[in-house]
């Protein structure tokens, strides 16, 4: 009995040794360290950028907060404000939302839910993906040669360099992004939901409207946020599509669609090129305003998304 007991104890000890063995998983640990390092690196870069911008921007806001937000552009750095840029950026966002979102989502629904899978539709889908990768300055050239020229031809008095040209250019720019993210969102809806809908005698329209689109809405909204953020941050296409560098008077509501316009990223670009340090500080403050607007837009979209996720 005692020998049996001792042999059981020996087995137990051996098992314990093997189970608690200090075998070191070197590659696994290294991998984890690399992952964590990447995360920290990205965060650090972001933090340095933000700190730098904020450090320059805070004095501007402290000195003339409201004046800076509402004031017009000026060649005097101490008087220059971003009022016109805020109005321009908000209007551009509105134009993009009104044009790119409905057209983009409708295109995605057609390609994903209605179009039969033929070579032609595949060709179209592939090229939409290619369009998403085209540099934004190319879209700027398109805006210049199509929209600016078109509005100039329609209304001879105006130069065609209106906010409508800029908004259309940005809408075309983000359209592929909206389409692609919407397609992904629609694709993520399980086929079983569609089958179930057809199984109770629903038509394609009813299945799409009542089952597929609600299920895809959170994903589609995520895509529209991405697209809108991208649009609000673009500079090059707007410069080509006629946004004003330097100062101008105007941006009153009456002349919005014919007169000159600008937007926050264009202003930031313009100011940051100037030699005076005061303009650099103004540019930093402009960046902060742009970031806040983008964050608010994202926040609204996230709220909407949560609402849709809970709606059933």
């Amino acid at each position: 009995m005692s020998t049996l007991g001792s042999s059981a104890a020996t087995t137990s000890a051996a098992v314990r040794a093997s189970l608690t063995g200090s075998r070191r998983d070197v590659p696994g640990t290294a991998f984890q360290v690399v992952l964590l390092g990447s995360l920290l690196f990205s965060l650090a870069v972001l933090a340095v950028l933000l700190a730098d911008v904020l450090a320059k921007a805070v004095p501007v806001f402290a000195a003339r907060g409201l004046d800076f937000l509402s004031g017009p552009l000026s060649s005097n750095a101490a008087k220059a404000g971003v009022g016109q840029g805020i109005i321009g950026t908000l209007l551009l966002g509105a134009i993009v939302s009104l044009l790119a979102f409905p057209f983009g989502i409708a295109t995605a629904v057609y390609l994903e839910e209605y179009a039969t899978d033929t070579l032609v539709t595949r060709f179209i889908a592939v090229n939409i993906r290619n369009l998403a990768g085209v540099p934004s300055v190319v879209y700027g050239l398109l805006g210049l040669s199509v929209f600016v020229a078109l509005f100039n031809a329609v209304d001879g008095d105006a130069s065609g360099r209106s906010i409508l040209s800029g908004g259309l250019t940005l809408a075309v720019l983000v359209l592929p992004i909206v389409i692609i993210t919407s397609i992904e969102a629609l694709r993520a809806v399980p086929g079983a939901i569609r089958e179930a809908g057809y199984g109770v005698g629903a038509s394609r329209w009813e299945v799409t409207r009542s089952l597929v689109l609600p299920a895809a809405t959170p994903g589609i909204l995520t895509g529209t946020v991405l697209a809108l953020s991208r649009a609000l941050g673009e500079t090059a296409p707007l410069v080509l599509a006629g946004a004003v560098l330097g100062s101008f008077s105007g941006m009153q509501l009456g002349s919005l669609f014919t007169g000159s316009y600008t937007a926050l990223p264009v202003i930031v670009y313009d100011w940051s090129r100037k030699p005076q340090d005061a303009f650099r500080a103004d540019a930093a403050a402009g960046i902060v305003v742009l970031l806040v607007i983008t964050l608010i837009a994202n926040g609204i979209a996230i709220l909407l998304r949560n609402r849709f996720e809970r709606s059933w």
């Binding site: 039969t116 899978d117 399980p190 079983a192 939901i193 569609r194 089958e195 179930a196 809908g197 057809y198 199984g199 109770v200 005698g201 629903a202 038509s203 009813e206 009542s210 089952l211 609600p214 299920a215 059933w312």
Partner: protein, 278 residues
Amino acid sequence: MTKATGDPMTEIALQPKDHAPAGRGEDVIRITGLSFHYGPFRAIKGVSLAVEEHKITALIGPSGCGKSTLLRTINRMNDLIPGTRVEGRVEYHGVDLYARDVDAVEVRRRIGMVFQKPNPFPKSIYDNVAFGPRVNGFKGNMDELVEASLQRAALWNDVKDKLKQSGLALSGGQQQRLCIARAIATNPDVILMDEPCSALDPRSTLQIEELMFELKEQYTIVIVTHNMQQAARASDYTVFMNMADDRAGYVVEEGQTLSIFTNPTNKLTEDYVSGRFG
């Protein structure tokens, strides 16, 4: 069979239909010389069979023999897959379902379906049941219809206090009964079940089988099953399918379940039901 006059959607079939008369009742579905192709691949060939009203007809056979494909031709679910082709006839009360002027959406309202994996809509329990009647223009009292459907699916007592909760929050067996409630809410004539218990535990499986017994009073049921005990327990008629050398499925033998399981005429059937292959 007695069919209510007027718009069937306006009358909830709470009152049981007449029981099937002694002897063989009317054939609700009659399939003749049916072949089905996915592109160049012929999935089933030369299938002919009849489905009697108020009976449970089980389709059994080894994996890949086309049971589900055959089931899905009955309510034209296969229409949704591009590149498919049907030869032969599928008649429903004598009407060729694949005739040019037949509306597949209308077919599916009369021939409902319960799928292999429970697939409730990502909506509330109430809306899951109400969806079908709504898209079919139901004008009556929706609350009553939802309650009646859930009761007939033996789910009402489980969910009556949480109708506004998501259908996805239910257990697997409850979800499948919700799908059955959803299928019967449109007051179909035939219910197709594609391995409805394959994702369920034994207790839920028995509940669904008991439910099928009650439902056949009012509906005609065709069920695909992998589970031979289930076919033997639950069905009135059994259709045994097998895969030919060219991988196309065909019907080996059909008949009353008892005779298929106890006295099969075909050697293949005997081997299959006794578990020697499949």
